[in-house]
Symmetry: D2
Subunit: 339 residues, 4 copies
């Protein structure tokens, strides 16, 4: 393969545009040749802004183009699995936003198609590529804190998304906690065997009306005996709260939020600083560049992608178990969940 | 009553000596007239060091002395309830170290005796009087963070106590977590209705051999819909780790550990500071002064004590529920637990 | 003018390559058409890496090209003023790295040529565009700390540059402190009238041998009555130390260094974190993008550049005064210094 | 000598009462037998509150009492030297609040009397006994930061004292900076040879009317080649600002202010914490206990006091030099100043 990867982008919404910008300006060894979006003018706008040659409505154009090496799937979640299968059959390598699907059977079919085609697949768990989480993983992997015993993952959004989004989101566990499930496995280097969910609707009663939850504490039991808890809220009024801490036999590691600046102002009332970065587009921007760069490099160098199809599947399984735990108010083992 | 409270101290071990020192040097309106300890020379040593007139082996001397207004009970846990009853009948006001007992029936008998005698009782949940926790309580009570939604209590010892201690401790939940159960109720201003415990032995297998646990995550569901988690470990090698954070509808509050100094040293390897204060005698020394001062003031001014008998009873109930939750691996409601 | 600025880059060394990368990947409305370097293969390498059409040895090619709107001067310091004059006469707008020159008469001639040609000039004081310093400026400008009274600028390199560099650097005050002189004026929004320098060679005796200094404290007296001190060292073994604090009548503002991550690791020895970002290429990377973006926008929109020729001249004047203060061990007024 | 030191307290104002409280409650091996104050009812009030047997108006009663081992001088500054001389002649050991006097000749006479009598003298530079500064001193003494190069001492009061106080204070350098001069010598373990003062009246014009200053930056040149700066302001509206940082050849050390609690509150506006401890009675309370404890121990054990008469004299010399530097706007060597 050449030293430049030709990409097709499927989906020109918020996250699709972010990847398009990174491909255009931040990733030297990739370029986006075609962008597809069911709203063709959205595709055209992305093409204009991010140096993409063609804008189309139908992603089949991308799959049929021999110039395209790989696709970046940023379309609506319910289309992911279908497009993965088609792309795999078309011999395209695949970067797909999370989650692959809300249904394990559908996911399995998609992963089977990928395996059969022998193409590479990377799932968009971008937080692994963030400097703070990467440093925590490094501390654990290097033994700086010994054997991990206890983990806290704090993951709170600045405010709830629109109700229209929540209705199709698959619920808080598949939409929001899924990142934290991935983080738990990634940081610990070990699988979760059982979950217990305490949750409720404390932020907005409308979320209850559509059967979803907005606040949760999910206890995790890992195969190595360690335990963890994920703290989720749809509303931290001070901004995007993304922290982790792990206690181990030889120490502990803890991260803080990222801030727009380090200035601290002391006046007659308080010692204060500006709020942390508000949401994922700002907070995790570098991690989005890094994940796509690593995908591009993995394809060009024919090495494994850093987040596999299985890495995309297991957090969905965990999300389903977390919901069942809430519904039945009991700890649920992951091996109880089947597609 | 005069403006000076005459105290008798029962038990001259580590915590008894701490209170004796505070009475001698830090609390202007109290004095200790008699100290009793089953090891009479321990009593004598405390008397010599902390300006106490008499040292005796038998605490009955204290209860029989008309000069004594109130007793400070720092003897072994299994003697607390019995001494409370006798002191109440002798008309002495009572400050008693936690826990009152490991058995709810025994506790209820002690509290009944107190009620009947009409004496004051304060239980030694000193952390309420610590500046950090008091500020968190104030933030919640004042509405600075709105309605509380999620709470994390981190409470880790620097290392496990001797096995001899563990064997008679009542188990981690009644010995160690009991402070955190009190803190959860105190900070939230609301009762816990259900607990779920994930726990294990990760620090020292010897703790498993005596049927106890050394690492735990206990999920709490509060009556107001809020949720919390207590993180306990018998071993944080970097020192005593005592923090809390609470997320509410209008903000969040978070405390840090206390340190012996604020010096930060940057060298060619790291930016570092000295470890936090190692254990409760250093970390909470001011809170021990404050709690006893408030007890003394409550007796002298005939106002309610800030930590009541019921405040001493409920954390024991929570500890029993937490253990049952662990044993049965299911959430346990507090109203399932009966004496 | 069109909505895309055509640049020529003069000098393909470390800082020239940085700007080339930013023009290629981070600044959407500019492109670099030609890069010139006296070492032609350096120019060619930059052209290959950063999407530049032509690489040449002689910068006259750039000045003679009608397609070029503006030049970015990153050549050796002693060539800056000459190239500024030639570029001005060629009608090119100019972005020039600091310092313009070490000699005030030479600077004045360059600024006169710019004024006569009516082209725009921006000097590369990038730190103004850093988020931390910008927030301090904002705090002062908004009145968040009232009237400024006292300022500390900490500015320490991780280690001394090669002696070959030091010999031609113009000395610590024109090479290193010049950024801090600019920062003092920028943050305070007011001119310095007098300086007093305490300085010495504490890091490396070789620096003394070439007549330069490596450690300095420079007191500044501002026209508004405020006072400040600049703390410079050529060696902070823990990394690039870049902080500022300002006390005002209504409060104070203080910045910290930037770190590669926020992870704090507590072990049996210390509570520690990784060292701050090591040097300016990492620490100030965003500020370099911002300054060039603002230059590009100023040219395209025909607005004033945010760092003028006068802003380039005054810090040189301050550096000359600081050196004279050291040589004569007395406070020196800026109006004592003449070209 | 016995194992209990009998003290007489001279002066029952703010600082005298503080020491009285500490002697009564915090220092086990000392007791105060007599307190003297020219306002006899102030003496009586202190006696009542702090377990002192006798209250008198005339301090001669203390000097004439054979039961008294040592005196604690907390009277008005202009009386210090006279009382030191009389106490020395009476054979009493002496703890004296800073400064000894504003006049070097007077100080020298007092120190001569102490030397002749062979009594011990300790001057009240309490900050040496504060945990933060002690840790900085330890870091330097242990070589944790290598050879010191640059020092910043930040020392700002929350607000100016009453004008009546300022008029008799000896000026900012002898009243306020004197602590920082002591700190500079103590931390560096080396003498200052030259000072340069930039100063003004920025806080309150009334301070100018009485010929004093309220804001200053004082540059220090040490005998070992290191340099430092003291930053003084009579008004930091956010509270008592007491910090230091030192850069050395192998690293740096930096302290922060002390806070009433560690709680950080994040809401929709800012991430904030409570203001630092407001003033010296709160901020330095432990250091006052420590200094007096060490004085008591030094007398009882016949060891040298940790802050000598010479340590009391040199900061006065530095203060006189700092003022001359301001008056003449030039660096002033300490050896220019003579009594």
């Amino acid at each position: 393969m050449s030293d430049m990867l030709n990409l097709g982008l499927i989906g020109a919404g918020r996250i699709g545009r972010l990847h398009a910008e990174h491909i255009a300006y931040r990733i030297p060894n990739a370029r986006c040749l075609i962008v597809a979006d069911v709203i063709e003018e959205a595709a055209q706008r992305a093409a204009d802004e991010f140096r993409i040659n063609y804008a189309v409505a139908d992603y089949q154009t991308i799959l049929n183009s021999p110039a395209i090496d790989a696709v970046v799937i940023c379309s609506a979640t319910h289309t992911h699995a279908q497009i993965i299968q088609e792309a795999a059959r078309a011999g395209k390598h695949i970067f797909c936003e999370k989650p692959i699907d809300h249904n394990l059977t559908v996911i399995d079919a998609a992963l089977a198609a990928v395996a059969e085609a022998g193409v590479k697949l990377q799932v968009g768990f971008n937080r692994r590529f963030d400097a703070n989480y990467a440093r925590v993983r490094q501390a654990i992997a290097r033994g700086e804190i010994g054997q991990p015993h206890l983990m806290h993952i704090i993951s709170r959004d600045p405010g709830p998304p629109p109700m229209e989004y929540i209705k199709v989101s698959g619920g808080i566990f598949l939409d929001m906690t899924i990142h934290d499930f991935d983080m738990a496995r990634f940081l610990m280097g070990c699988e979760v065997e059982e979950v217990y969910t305490a949750a409720g609707v404390l932020v907005d009663p409308a979320i209850d009306e559509v059967g979803d939850l907005d606040t949760a504490l999910i206890t995790l039991k890992f195969a190595n005996g360690a335990m963890g808890v994920i703290d989720n809220s749809r509303q931290a009024v001070y901004g995007y709260d993304q922290r982790v801490e792990v206690l181990g036999s030889k120490g502990a590691v803890q991260t803080d939020n990222n801030y727009p600046n380090s200035a601290v102002i002391s006046d007659a009332n308080a010692v204060r600083r500006d709020l942390p970065l508000n949401f994922f587009m700002e907070r995790y921007v570098e991690s989005y560049v890094n994940e796509l760069q690593q995908f591009v490099d993995a394809v060009l160098e024919d090495t494994p992608t850093p987040v596999t199809g299985e890495d995309g599947r297991i957090p969905v399984l965990m999300g389903l178990a977390a919901r069942r735990s809430y519904d039945e108010n009991r700890p649920v083992r992951l091996d109880e969940i089947t597609g």
